[in-house]
Amino acid sequence: MTTNERSTDDEHRRPGAADSTEPRQSSDTADQRDGRGATDADASAVNAADTVTVEDRHTERWYGIGVLALLGLGVGVLTDTAAPLLASGFGLAFAGYGALTSPPPLDLTVERTIGDPTPEPGDYVEVTVTVTNDGERSVPDLRLIDGVPDRLGVVEETPRHGAVLGPGDSTTFAYAVRAERGAFEFDGLTAVARDVSGATERVAVVGERSSLRCVARFPTDPPPFPLRAQTVQHTGRYPGDAGGAGVEFYATREYRRGDPLSRVDWNRTARTGDLTTVDFRVEQTVRVALVFDTRRSAHLAPSPHEPSAVERAVAGGTTAYASLTRAGHDVGLGAVAPVDCWLAPGRGDTHREEARHFLATHPVLSPTPPADDTNVYRATQRLKRRLTAETQVVLFSPLHDDLLADTVVRLDAHGYAVVVVSPNPTATDTTGHLVARGERRLRIADLRSRGIPVIDWHPDEDLGHALVRTRRRWSP
């Protein structure tokens, strides 16, 4: 499958260039995005991508070769022999060699093929690049560097290639990148062509862009996600902390007038003669908002090579969404972030697709930290306006500062039952890191002492494991 788009932006690759395109895409609806993905898939390699020469530069590599001539002349004259004099001729000739050659005009067509433009996170995506020389002169020294998006790491082979291309010849190279969550845009390919002597090099960016969209699928068998106890609202599937009609045994009590006869424990009546009513656990639907702490400071990781707390939070949120909707709850998505970010609670296939794209490509949930600081108070106010009464909040935060811990307490006090999932981003290598680790522990202990469940999620741990480990000492 090939995606070809004419480049309009021929500058050199800039850090963050891939990210700058994200807000545009996220403002589309999920349906539009799917539609565009389909047209991308059908487009074939049509328009010959422009080759834009950026600059010619002298490499000056033959400068100084004349020293050989001077050496030869000197030795020849001093010893009165002909051979060194003749040898000095090389120094002179090569000093002129560089001036005699010139780089050929670059007329290249680039075709980039991406194996799977919509991979899963962690997939290895093969990228094949074919470069054809459309010019009439051969290019004796062509060095190619593909415009891999900054956030994608190359895992196999290399996105760089060297070739000698005669007129009409083409060369192909392939490499693989590891897909990360998000939408990515490949930049144009940088071509460096040298003349045969290497004296002049011509640098061009060949305008070929391709996109890669990586959206995680929801896990098929998510671990059960714990919620807080809740009073009955609507009949659903969440086991509430109240007796009534249901399936699971809850308690027995004395018979009261009006109790359905089917719930009378006749065995006990036969034994004792008293009428007893059996209460079953009432199951209910809960509205849940998954809220992500994506402030700039929350982009923390134990080491630069590990996923950040935000990245893990989104992965955990994906699992939680799958688990909670499966249990029959309405799940919404939001964030404590500089800009507004909200997906109203819901479930069903449409909502599921929306949530999938929201989690993968919403700029607020991007793995790149935002440029602006977040006003936590305003973000919380915004969130509270969105939350209806009785909505439970599952907050994903590394809990690296008191600000957010206070917010949790405040939300809880306002009647929103809060569960905190905290990806642990702390390291133990320096004293400062140890202090931060200790402070975070105190924050967690404080929240727990207020009756707010906190799931402390270690870096190399599965979320399901963290849930089980925490649940052992937590009664909702």
């Binding site: 030869g72 051979a83 895992v155 290399t158 760089r160 190279f173 590891r178």
Partner: protein, 168 residues
């Protein structure tokens, strides 16, 4: 979550090393008529090898200058003229291949496919060196009837002016 990402290895490729060392060894062989010169040339081969391995442009240049010195010493001690010309030409080819390998390494790395690119570059330089050697040898043969040294010096002066004009 450990992923083996390919890191960019900017060292010169083995091809570049071979293309540098082979002409350098040719120089050592060509200057073997005078053993001290051959010994110096072998030392220069070592310097060139280390220079390319460490991607050090100055070491490669130093090696090439020492190599050229060995050729001149052999030439001054009455080595046959063709050997001297081959040695001098091979010196330039070795230096060219070495510095080119370093640039290729810096730009597209050791992992990229560069064999053909470097081979073509070295072949072109070898071709030019062969032409220069042949012209020099022919000029020497022609001039050796009258006053060889003066004739050669004049010829070289003409080449110097020619290249100066071209560069300007």
């Amino acid at each position: 979550m450990n992923v083996d990402y390919e890191t960019f290895d900017d060292s010169p490729s083995p091809t570049g090393l071979v293309l540098t060392v082979v002409p350098a060894v040719v120089v050592a062989l060509a200057s073997a008529t005078f053993l001290p010169a051959a010994a110096v040339a072998l030392l220069a081969v070592l310097v060139l090898t280390v220079g390319v391995r460490n991607a050090s442009r100055s070491l490669v240049t130093l090696g090439a200058v020492v190599l050229f010195g060995a050729v001149l010493v052999a030439g001054a001690s009455d080595a046959p003229l063709p050997f001297v010309l081959i040695g001098a030409g091979a010196t330039v080819v070795a230096w060219d291949a070495g510095t080119n390998a370093i640039t290729v390494g810096r730009q597209i790395g050791a992992a990229a496919e560069t064999r053909r690119l470097q081979l073509v570059h070295s072949l072109a330089t070898t071709g030019v060196a062969a032409v220069v050697g042949a012209v020099g040898y022919g000029a020497f043969r022609l001039a050796s009837g009258g006053q060889p040294t003066a004739g050669v010096a004049l010829l070289l002066l003409a080449v110097l002016l020619f290249s100066y004009l071209l560069d300007g």
